[in-house]
């Protein structure tokens, strides 16, 4: 693993639950108890109404492809080329990820295509949520 140079997330107290969830193959969002707004990335208050009364909810894992690029410059730890995408979750929030399980080409990566979450181990502690075509 000497060549391993990917950036590894270091959870903070406010984000720990997200990474604990990912470790258990769960994609966790937060929802405001007051205004019902579902949001990401994590923080212990609602970004819409500032209420501190928020709950953790599990996302369905269903998403669509909102936008992306295909990186052609070599990057340690990544296949070349590789997609960097923003997906829109069924619950509303968007998040950055990679689209896996399909060719990394404009023909295979079509905007608004249905996706589903899959988890990839980055380290013993960190699973990254990635997305693959829903029909796969």
């Amino acid at each position: 693993m000497a060549e391993f140079k990917k950036q590894v997330p270091r959870p903070t107290p406010e984000t720990q639950h997200f990474w604990d969830g990912a470790k258990n193959q769960q994609l966790l969002l937060q929802q405001c108890d007051q205004c019902q707004h579902t949001y990401f990335p994590p923080r212990p208050f609602c970004p819409k109404c500032a209420s501190r009364e928020v709950s953790i909810t599990e996302a369905s894992g269903k998403a669509t492809l909102y936008s992306y690029v295909i990186n052609h410059r070599p990057l340690p730890g990544f296949d070349n080329p590789h997609s960097i995408a923003v997906v829109e979750l069924e619950e509303g929030p968007r998040m950055m990820s990679n689209i896996v399980g399909c060719p990394q080409t404009p023909e295979a990566l079509v905007l608004d295509m249905p996706l589903k979450v899959t988890f990839e181990a980055l380290t013993d502690e960190i699973n990254l949520p990635k997305f693959q075509p829903a029909e796969a």
Binding site: P9, T12, V69, N71, R73, V86, M95, L111
Partner: protein, 381 residues
């Protein structure tokens, strides 16, 4: 801000631009500052306000021997200098200082004595929720919204390529531009793929350089040698440090808020604008900028540029120094956009727009994270 109460009276870039391995970052600030002081005939001891980004103001003030009564270290990326102009104008009007020096210097290419680092820290939101997915700097982040824009509005790859083609035409007129050779749409679309749909000729340069501005009251400007360039309207805003969390991938909220504020303050119409600079780190930025500033309807700016409206001879000269795509781009390009606006309004630009009276310099910070807009005029009215 009171329109036209403050003027840019001194301005300069570093003596050299491009590859400057013999100067460190702080000396690039100083070289530009000394050139700007010479331009206006002032000494460091005449300066009582310092603003900068990249370096902290303390470093610049100490290095130049300035004892300021006002400092501003606002650092929101490449448009920080637009925000400095806005803050300096307010500070001078409030009596906090009389004469402000704003500096930029960046060893973007040679990396001598640099202070900014990549990647983002592993505990930041970007470090946890964007960096792990293999974003390798601005070429793979700033570009992510564009496919969504293309699908929503039908912008073509050829129209996007025309941004680079047209700016190279402006650069050809500028002896200080890094790239001056003409290019075609085919050249752009055949250049090396960096991050689909972006190719090399749609990404900015990486060079060394710097620039500095000196501002004072319009009243005091009357006693100084250079033709004053008055600050007519200003705006600023921020949206999000995470490109993935932009509200809408087809428009920048920070651009819209900043631009509208500046237009309101200036009290001008779009048809009053003679010259425009829109920070172009990548080829899509002039498209977003034209629409978010209100020069084009949503979805129409690609066609507007491809139709040569912003090219030499067009109705709205845009990025007349060649822009970040062909002139230079050290990392925080906003300073160079301001420099070109000042040159145009002084009548000293390499590709001079005839009789230019009102110019806008619109900047971006981070990846659509921040924005600053400065409307300038060479007429006090």
């Amino acid at each position: 801000m009171k329109p036209n109460s403050i003027a840019i009276v001194g301005t300069a870039e570093t003596t050299e631009l491009g590859k400057i391995p013999n100067l460190s970052q702080i000396q690039l600030h100083a070289d530009a500052a000394l050139n700007a002081l010479e331009d206006v005939g002032l000494k460091p001891s005449d300066i009582d306000g310092v603003a900068t980004a990249g370096e902290i103001p303390t470093n610049v003030a100490y290095y130049l021997g300035i004892t300021p009564t006002w400092v501003d270290g606002t650092s929101v990326g490449g448009c920080s200098f637009m925000l400095h102009v806005r803050h300096a104008a307010a500070a001078i009007n409030a009596g906090l200082c009389e004469t402000v020096l704003i500096t930029h210097g960046e060893s973007g290419r040679s990396r001598v004595g640099v202070s900014n680092t990549w990647p983002r820290g592993a505990t930041t939101l970007a470090g946890q929720f964007e960096m792990p997915f293999g974003v390798a700097g601005p070429p793979t982040m700033f570009t992510i919204p564009v496919l969504r824009y293309m699908k929503e509005y039908g912008l073509t790859h050829e129209q996007l390529a025309m941004v680079s083609v047209v700016q190279r035409e402006w650069a050809a007129k500028n002896p200080r531009a890094s790239f001056k050779e003409p290019i075609t749409v085919e050249d752009v679309l055949d250049s090396k793929m960096i991050a689909y749909p972006f190719r090399k000729l749609q990404c900015c340069l990486v060079t060394d350089g710097g620039g500095a501005l000196i501002l004072t009251s319009a009243e005091r400007a009357k006693d100084l040698p250079q033709k004053p360039v008055y600050i007519r309207g200003t705006g600023e805003s921020v949206e999000t440090p995470l490109i993935s969390q932009m509200e809408d991938f087809t428009t920048s909220k920070a651009f819209r808020v900043s631009g509208q504020k500046a237009f309101e303050e200036a009290g001008i119409k779009h048809s009053d604008v003679d010259h425009l600079m829109i920070y172009d780190a990548f080829a899509h930025l002039p498209i977003y900028g034209l629409e978010d500033l209100g020069f084009c309807d949503p979805g129409c700016a690609g066609e507007f540029i491809a139709g040569r409206n912003t090219a030499p001879g067009g109705q709205l000269p845009l990025n007349t120094n060649g822009g970040g795509l062909s002139y230079m781009h050290s990392g925080m390009y906003g300073m160079y956009a301001l420099q070109e606006s000042v040159r145009q309004l002084r009548g000293t630009a390499a590709a001079q727009v005839e009789n230019a009276k009102i110019s806008i310099a619109h900047g971006v910070g981070g990846m659509f994270a921040a924005s600053g807009t400065i409307i300038m005029s060479n007429e006090q009215l």
